[in-house]
């Protein structure tokens, strides 16, 4: 067994430097690597390009890095919940690349799977297609999209083991499995880290080969963005 366990978030994020491109899992505030984001704030790493479906809210998630102006460029599909983000983008302080969500996921997966580019119909005929190769397949128009090239992927899982195997819970899975192994170094933070051999190999969602460093996070807040309930 190749041991991937590191003892702290500090150790996990060693080598993250100013100007790097970092992928971060999560959908809204669901399944985000809370401990790693807090550490990036503390480290004051700046000039970052962040690839993440959303940009958090004003005071949580990636919003914390935006507040401190540590992000130079965001690559996302939807940023509607963050007023500070919208302000920085409209004022030109923040460079933003908005891309269709399925394309975002596939650009991660392609990087993970060694596929340099692919064709998708998403965005054909829109400004997303500008400057991209267009090709017709089976009578339908497609545009070419490239795999991402990131320095670090930071993902969050529910359970993991010291071999780096990951299991996700509910919709906190989202982009996390697609980003694992999609960058030069993948860091996984998990709610519960167990010894290799404890998890059932049949139940592993992401094999440890995609993960270089794993640690157990602390004090997960798991903030709910829209608390919707019904009456009994």
């Amino acid at each position: 067994m190749i041991n991937k366990k590191v003892n702290s978030v500090q150790e996990a994020l060693q080598g993250v430097e100013n100007g790097m491109t970092i992928m971060l899992g999560g959908f809204g505030l669901c399944g985000i690597p809370e401990n790693s984001i807090a550490e990036l704030v503390k480290k004051e790493t700046n000039n970052l390009t962040c690839i993440s479906n959303n940009a958090g809210v004003d005071d949580f998630g990636l919003g914390l890095l935006l507040q401190k102006k540590q992000i130079k460029k965001m690559v996302s599909s939807y940023v509607g919940e963050n007023a500070e983000f919208e302000r920085q983008m409209l004022s030109g302080e923040l460079d933003v690349e908005l891309i269709p969500q399925g394309t975002l996921a596939e650009r991660c997966r392609s990087a993970q799977a060694g596929i340099p580019a692919f064709y998708t119909p998403a965005g054909y005929g829109t400004e997303v297609a500008e400057g991209k190769e267009v090709r017709e397949f089976n009578g339908k128009m497609h545009i070419m999209e490239h795999a991402f090239n990131a320095d670090f992927a930071i993902v969050k899982a529910w359970k993991g083991d010291t071999a780096g195997n990951l299991i996700f819970k509910g919709t906190a899975r989202n982009f996390n499995p697609c980003m694992a192994g999609a960058a030069k170094i993948t860091v996984a933070e998990v709610e519960e880290l167990v010894e290799a051999g404890t998890l059932d190999p049949n139940q592993i969602h992401i094999p440890g080969i995609f993960v270089q460093r794993i640690f157990q996070g602390e004090l997960y807040e798991k903030r709910i963005e829209q608390r919707t309930v019904r009456q009994k």
Binding site: L29, P100, R230
Partner: protein
């Protein structure tokens, strides 16, 4: 004239037995509350769940189980969770039968705009571009006119497009319109709304054949 719930109820009549359906944020989400009796449908949410159920009871919310609108939800028997790449595989691969989403503008050739107002509002397209580029059947839930009373049903979209030539049907507070190769065809009027009112509220030309029936909404 319909309210948002009325629009959702009318769209729910478009659901068919054994359909897999993706619901967008806003009015489309309400459609799940009015599934016609006697049919089975499953709702897909692009953040990675199939078999979405109603909101949880108070105190039973789980931060790890949400829909694409980031609302806490529950799952129904037979539900599954999956990652974002697989989720959009379902969508691009046309395994989802029907997409219901909102729009800022729709044009008579089926173009849709719903993600950006240059210089003013940029929320992003989320999964909408993937959904409209791939779904075989797309129904738009929207208001017919904006707050200033200007038509959002146009000859040509003025805002940046989300997708081209993809919308099949529109349900608004005033009418049900079908997108045909010749343009918008008026199918139904909302209760109490005249054909003249709909024509006056629509910038695009309408194809009107015979008497236009009034919607039947429970």
């Amino acid at each position: 004239m319909l309210d948002k719930i009325g629009i959702a109820k009318r769209i729910a009549q478009e659901l068919k037995d054994r359909y897999f359906v993706n619901l967008g944020i806003g009015i489309p989400t309400l459609v799940a509350n009015y599934i016609p009796q006697g049919i089975d449908v499953e709702f897909q949410s692009e953040n990675g769940v199939l078999g979405m159920g109603p909101f949880p009871f108070e105190g039973e919310e789980d931060a790890d189980i949400i829909n694409a609108g980031k609302q806490t939800i529950t799952t129904l028997p037979g539900a599954s969770f999956f990652d974002s790449a697989l989720s959009f595989g379902m969508i691009r691969g046309q395994h989802v039968d029907l997409t219901i989403l909102g729009a800022m503008e729709v044009a008579e050739n089926g173009d849709i705009a719903n993600w950006k107002i240059p210089g003013k509002m940029v929320k992003g397209m989320g999964g909408a571009m993937d959904l409209v580029a791939s779904a075989e059947n797309i129904i738009v839930a929207m208001m017919h006119v904006n707050k200033k009373g200007e038509s959002k049903i146009l000859k040509k979209c003025s805002l940046p497009l989300t997708g081209v030539g993809c919308v099949k049907k529109i349900v608004t507070e005033l009418a049900v319109l079908e997108v045909t190769p010749k343009g918008f065809k008026l199918l139904e009027r909302a209760p109490g709304v005249t054909v003249e009112h709909i024509i006056a509220s629509t910038e695009a030309e309408l194809i009107i054949e015979g008497d236009i029936p009034e919607m039947v909404i429970d």
